[in-house]
């Protein structure tokens, strides 16, 4: 039984095909990355797993159970947590309130203090700013908050959508370091990135999405040196 398996899913959006026959398998404890250009369908894929979009066909199984018909909050309850593109933190709530809301559901709520400690250990800056309104944080801090909020939900699979977006390289490094750290502590990671090489460098497995289809998959180290990728993303 695989950890998460998406089987030939199709997603349509206003009569428009966004994902076509996407099959993907994610093993526990791994970091898996999906790379692809803008609009290739990466975000759609994450939203579909998170239950925000419904596949028109195909199925998604998590530890053997079908999850493709569940409401988003039920999927979060199962431990599949998505950190959306653009962070989507709650700007007029304080940093602490944001984190508390991460453990909104009963199970995570029971472990709120421990999780909080974990987040503050991972991102000490959040502890310093816990009283501050989230909207006043810098871009990097907001990304940390978004990840921290995700951790508060006690994820078994953490899905990150473009965590490096708009961040300076030094911050990107910081974020990726924390992702690796989270993975080491036992959480499976599904990472969507445009920052192809950084992502492939970090991940164990990789998928390349183009125009709603998977065109390449394999060990990320192999993909890193794949000519197709170089051509597609660098033009060399």
């Amino acid at each position: 039984m695989s950890f998460l398996k998406a089987d030939e899913i199709n997603v349509q959006y206003e009569d428009m095909h966004v994902l076509q026959e996407v099959t993907m398998e994610i093993d526990q404890q791994k970091i898996v990355t999906i790379v692809g250009a803008n609009g290739a369908g990466k975000t759609t894929f994450l939203k579909t797993i998170a239950g925000i979009l419904r596949p028109t066909s195909g199925e998604i199984r998590f530890l053997g159970d079908r999850i493709d018909h569940l409401y988003p909050h039920k999927i979060v309850e199962k431990g599949l947590v998505r950190i959306p593109e653009g962070r989507k933190i709650f700007p007029s709530l304080s940093v602490l309130e944001n984190l508390e809301l991460g453990s909104y559901l009963p199970k995570p709520k029971a472990k709120r203090p421990e999780s909080l400690e974990k987040v503050f250990f991972l991102f000490p800056v959040l502890k310093e700013r816990s009283k501050q309104l989230a909207g006043t944080l810098s871009g990097g801090e907001q990304q940390m908050l978004a990840i921290g909020r995700g951790i508060m939900s006690l994820p078994r699979l953490l899905m990150l959508d473009e965590p490096s977006l708009g961040l300076a390289p030094v911050l990107v490094r910081e974020i990726f370091r924390s992702v690796r750290e989270i993975n080491k502590q036992g959480t499976t990671i599904l990472l969507v990135e445009q920052n192809v090489f950084t992502a492939l460098d970090l991940a164990h497995d990789g998928y390349v999405l183009e125009n709603g289809r998977i065109v390449l998959k394999g060990k990320s180290k192999d993909l890193l040196h794949n000519e197709h990728i170089k051509e597609a993303f660098l033009g060399i």
Partner: protein, 293 residues
């Protein structure tokens, strides 16, 4: 236009503040609904009317003290609001704004005429023996039921503030009102948030109905008197900002009451709409901003 004397002005100010609190309480529920769901609820006045009737009948039929009846009217209106959201409003959440507005209009048409059928179009009043009192400070008359209504407005706004600030559900409502996708990612059930928020909005205005009943009259259309003013208050306070709504209520209450001291009765309402249009044009985010802080 006449120049009023000092006693008249004082009276107008005191009364304006008291009425303003009531407007605030009505608008708090409306603004909560708007903040979370982006819906202009025209059925708000009908909810208030239901609150008033509930209070009236509990008193007349069962002898329950009007203020005590809050314990029943609040849950009752909460449930009414919840059901209406769950089964009607929820169907049009993705529709254009004007469809939502017309839907609430249809709902209020139904509720008001339902009330006519059920309770006849009679005007009724609640006379509470222990509340005939007014207090006179100098030349200024202060009506005790209005003071109670004002204090209730403060208490309910404070309770709501506490609820939204301190409880997980409250935080979830605030979260949902500003970042829907973020709310989904932490496992908040948006549908539930919507009907809870709508229920709370209805409960607030139901409570307003209860505390207004002792100094006003009860009639199937009574909500209409307050609901348009409540829209003005909501915009003035910043749509979705409920603390702002409370203070905006005070401003409108004062403008109306003090305005009446200077100009004929018709024109006092004109002033309110004039302020309203000015705010819409020059400070559309409201006097107190959109945020919940």
């Amino acid at each position: 236009m006449t120049i009023p004397g000092i006693p008249l002005l004082l009276q107008a100010i005191v009364n304006g503040i008291l009425m303003g609190g009531v407007y605030g309480l009505i608008a708090v529920g409306l603004t909560l609904i708007f903040g979370v769901m982006n819906i202009i609820n025209f059925a708000h006045g009908a909810f208030m009317m239901l609150g008033m009737y509930a209070t009236y009948w509990l008193y007349v039929l069962l002898g329950i003290d009007p203020y005590l009846s809050l314990l029943l009217t609040i849950p009752l209106l909460f449930i009414v609001g919840l059901l209406i959201e769950r089964f009607l409003i929820a169907q049009v959440l993705d529709a254009p704004g004007h469809n939502q507005l017309l839907l609430t209009l249809g709902i209020s048409l139904f509720i008001e005429n339902f009330a006519i059928c059920l309770w006849s179009p009679n005007f009724r009043t609640l006379e509470i023996p222990y509340l005939q009192n007014v207090v006179n400070i100098g030349t200024v008359m202060i009506s005790i039921p209005k003071v109670i209504a004002f204090l209730s407005a403060i208490i309910f706004t404070a309770l709501l503030y506490y609820f939204l600030k301190k409880t997980d559900m409250g935080k979830a409502i605030r979260a949902a009102s500003e970042e829907k996708e973020g709310a989904l990612t932490v496992g908040i059930n948006l549908k539930k948030i919507y009907y809870v928020a709508f229920g709370i909005g209805a409960a607030c205005v139901g409570a307003a109905g209860t505390v207004i009943a002792p100094f006003f009259y009860v009639n199937p259309h009574v909500g209409g008197i307050f609901v348009i003013v409540a829209f003005v208050v909501v915009v003035l306070g910043g749509m979705g900002n409920f603390i702002g709504a409370f203070f905006a209520g005070l401003i409108i209450g004062l403008a109306e009451s003090v305005g009446a001291a200077f100009v004929p009765g018709q024109v006092k309402q004109f002033i309110i709409y004039f302020i309203f249009i000015l705010v819409l044009l020059f400070k559309p985010e409201g006097l107190f901003g959109r945020s919940n802080e």
